[in-house]
């Protein structure tokens, strides 16, 4: 276990981390000067989390269960991604929605609807609308790729929470960023470097939704939480749960794969 941790830390911290420890040991007052090394660490942590489900390219199968007070439905999805810019998601089950596909390229989203055999582009006015009836919005898919550019992140806590050593990353939107959230706080397990919980606040600092990550599984070298639960704060009886069944990372996928033609073909 210790070996794993050391590996992780090495992988993450490489040069800057060592420098930090060195300074910390020798010159205590310089602790404050070494602050920039923290920032590097934050970015690396965020990169690390981004890569968990996605790698450089990925191919995953998952089930999404949406529970609202009016309905509960479960879908099986197949998803491909390349970086943060490109993703393609196709519904495999239930039969009624089979073949409905979503293509995301940069900031655009298209839906393919097999019943009427049409591709429709989601206009900007509908971005805040729900994606496939879940608690995720179309915007959640789009804004993901600009998260690093839109928010300024920093480690705001390092230590034990509920008996687990964690890093707490707080992300505050940059001055002119067009974003939905006023603050996003994420807790990351220090040992496995996998996220535990993410809290989304609005501009008034009110908690809007909580995403919890559990059922960690080893995929290659990484520990990846296989279950993601999104819980809106104002509707405690509702939730959207994504359970990954299978993730294959770093498979060959060119950006040409994420085309409108493929959106229709992949059903």
């Amino acid at each position: 276990m210790k070996q794993i941790k050391a590996n992780k830390i090495n992988e993450l911290h490489n040069k800057s981390g060592r420098k930090f420890y060195f300074k910390f040991l020798l010159l205590f007052p310089l602790f404050f000067i070494s602050f920039p090394s923290f920032a590097v660490e934050v970015n690396e942590l965020i990169h690390h989390i981004d890569k968990l489900w996605r790698g450089d390219t990925s191919h995953a199968t998952m089930t999404m269960t949406v529970k609202t007070r009016h309905y509960e439905r479960s879908m099986t999805l197949e998803a491909w991604s390349r970086g943060k810019e490109y993703s393609l998601i196709v519904i495999r089950k239930p039969i009624k929605d089979k073949g409905i596909a979503t293509l995301k390229v940069k900031e655009n989203i298209w839906n393919y609807l097999p019943k009427i055999n049409r591709v429709t582009k989601v206009p900007s006015s509908m971005m805040s609308g729900s994606w496939m009836g879940s608690h995720f919005s179309n915007d959640d898919l789009v804004k993901e790729s600009t998260f690093e550019g839109d928010y300024h992140s920093s480690i705001t806590f390092e230590g034990k929470r509920d008996g687990v050593a964690i890093y707490e990353i707080t992300s505050i939107p940059k001055l002119n960023a067009a974003v939905v959230w006023g603050k996003v706080v994420m807790q990351i397990d220090q040992k496995t470097l996998s996220p535990r919980i993410a809290l989304y606040y609005d501009e008034e600092g009110v908690l809007i939704r909580t995403m919890t990550f559990d059922q960690p599984q080893k995929i290659g070298k990484l520990t990846v939480p296989m279950r993601l639960t999104l819980q809106p704060e104002d509707k405690p009886e509702e939730s959207t749960v994504i359970i990954y069944q299978d993730i294959v990372l770093d498979i060959p996928l060119s950006s040409a794969f994420f085309s409108l033609q493929n959106l229709q073909k992949r059903r």
Binding site: V66, T68, R69, H70, Y71, R73, K96, D97, I100, N111, L113, K115, I116, N117, R118, T120, K121, V122, P123, S125, M126, G129, S130, M132, G133, S134
Partner: protein, 436 residues
């Protein structure tokens, strides 16, 4: 006593003299009469146009879209909660219990409409054509095409296309014409993606700005196949036959809903059913009606006052000219109050003739306004919108007989008040000075 009797016997002579006095200077009198009469005509036409506008507003509000009374669930009013429906059994029961009223259920949803490359957010409104025709004239309100919400055709893969009718502005923005295909994508109530193809069968005339810009009208059957919302409707529009029974009917429906709520409770999320009449539904229209009465009164008073200044001038001149004459009359024993009365009679005749002439001409012009109206359709073919309602580009008058009477009365009163000044001068004449 004897004196009194003789006084009254002199009255017809006095009136006769006053009348004759008017025509001693016919040009001046006719000018005064025409000033007063045109003032009156303006007041009459103004009242007529404002009343016509108000009536058009109420007609648009009630006859075409809102109807007289509407029922919604509270949660639907608050935030258009698509799940806040009234069950179909309620409608059935109410139709049984109130055979004299007409009911039309309506269902709404937000969706995404696309034609070729353009997509835009739309408001889907679903009605039952048979019931809707009994409640509103929506189905006569078509600009192009036909208001047909039936099945258009079946595509090759066995998919049924329904006809829809869209708002004029939406048709313009999406650049579509009749017969084009419209794709609607929305989130159905079971969380799945509702999607279907439609054929545009017609374009509605402007109705209310919102619906005109984003409205898509379809049949309830088509809606249910798109949205999977089968167990109820969002809005119940009710038409009553006698407007005087509005409040009474509203209360009866409230009671009926309370009864139904006991027999067949509604789900807990949607809130209570709320019954509102058209005045509550469109407060702007109700306010406008109240306001228009006050506006007519104020504007009318200003016009008449200005016109009566002309009358004041005329009478002052007339009295001044006849100072010598009045002096002689006083000297030979004419009572001052008789002199005062004579001058007042002269003013009264002026006002009366003006009232008759003004009313006659006013009625003739108003007849034209009621028939043809003032037509703005060249500059504003779609009409204009005010307070969330769209008006036809033709302003038509509507004259209430009471308004004419009030206008005449107001003019008479104002002119008589004005004529008190010249008559008072005659009372204060000293015969010796006057004759000098």
């Amino acid at each position: 006593m004897k004196n009194n009797v003789s006084s009254f016997s002199q009255l017809p002579i006095l009136i006769f003299i006053a009348w004759r006095n008017l025509w001693r200077n016919p040009v001046r009198s006719i000018l005064t009469i025409s000033a007063l009469a045109s003032g009156l005509i303006m007041v009459i036409l103004y009242a007529s146009l404002l009343e016509g506008m108000t009536r058009q507003m109420v007609r648009f509000a009630t006859e075409i879209s809102i109807s007289d009374i509407q029922v919604h669930r509270q949660a639907y009013i608050d935030d258009q909660d698509i799940y806040a429906t009234l069950p179909w059994s309620y409608l059935k029961k109410m139709e049984q219990d109130f055979p004299s009223l007409h009911f039309s259920p309506r269902i709404y949803a937000a969706g995404l409409a696309s034609v070729a490359d353009t997509s835009t957010g739309v408001l889907i409104k679903a009605v039952d054509p048979k019931r809707e025709k009994e409640v509103t004239k929506l189905f006569e309100h078509v600009r192009h095409g036909k208001l047909d919400l039936g099945i258009a055709d079946t595509t090759k893969n066995g998919f049924v296309r329904y006809n829809v009718v869209i708002g004029a502005q939406l048709a313009k923005n999406m650049n579509v014409k009749i017969g084009d295909e419209l794709v609607l994508v929305t989130q159905a109530v079971d969380g799945s993606i509702g999607n279907a193809l439609y054929r545009i069968a017609g374009v509605l005339k402007p109705l209310e700005p919102n619906f005109d810009r984003i409205g898509v009208l379809m049949s309830i059957k088509a809606y249910q196949q798109l949205m999977y919302l089968k167990d109820g409707f969002h809005e119940l529009a009710i038409k009553i036959n006698d407007m005087a029974l509005l409040q009474d009917t509203q209360n009866k429906i409230k009671n009926e809903l309370t009864q139904l709520g006991k027999q067949q409770p509604l789900d807990k999320f949607g809130g209570k059913p709320v019954v509102r009449n058209w005045r509550q539904l469109t407060p702007a229209v109700a306010d406008m009606m109240e306001m228009s009465k006050a506006i007519v009164l104020v504007v009318g008073f200003i016009i008449v006052s200005l016109a009566s200044l002309g009358m004041l001038n005329t009478m002052l001149m007339a009295v001044h000219e006849r100072t010598h004459e009045f002096g002689i009359l006083l000297a030979i024993g004419m009572k001052r109050r008789w002199l005062l009365l004579m001058v007042l009679f002269e003013s009264f005749f002026l006002a009366l003739v003006s009232a008759v002439v003004g009313t006659l001409i006013g009625l003739v012009i108003n007849e034209y306004f009621e028939e043809h109206g003032i037509d703005f359709s060249k500059s504003m073919p779609d009409g204009y919108d005010w307070a969330g309602m769209i008006f036809e580009p033709v302003m038509k008058g509507y004259l209430l007989p009471g308004d004419v009477l009030y206008a005449c009365l107001m003019m008479m009163v104002v002119t008589m008040l004005a004529s008190l000044i010249p008559s008072w001068r005659t009372v204060r004449l000293k015969p010796a000075d006057a004759m000098r």
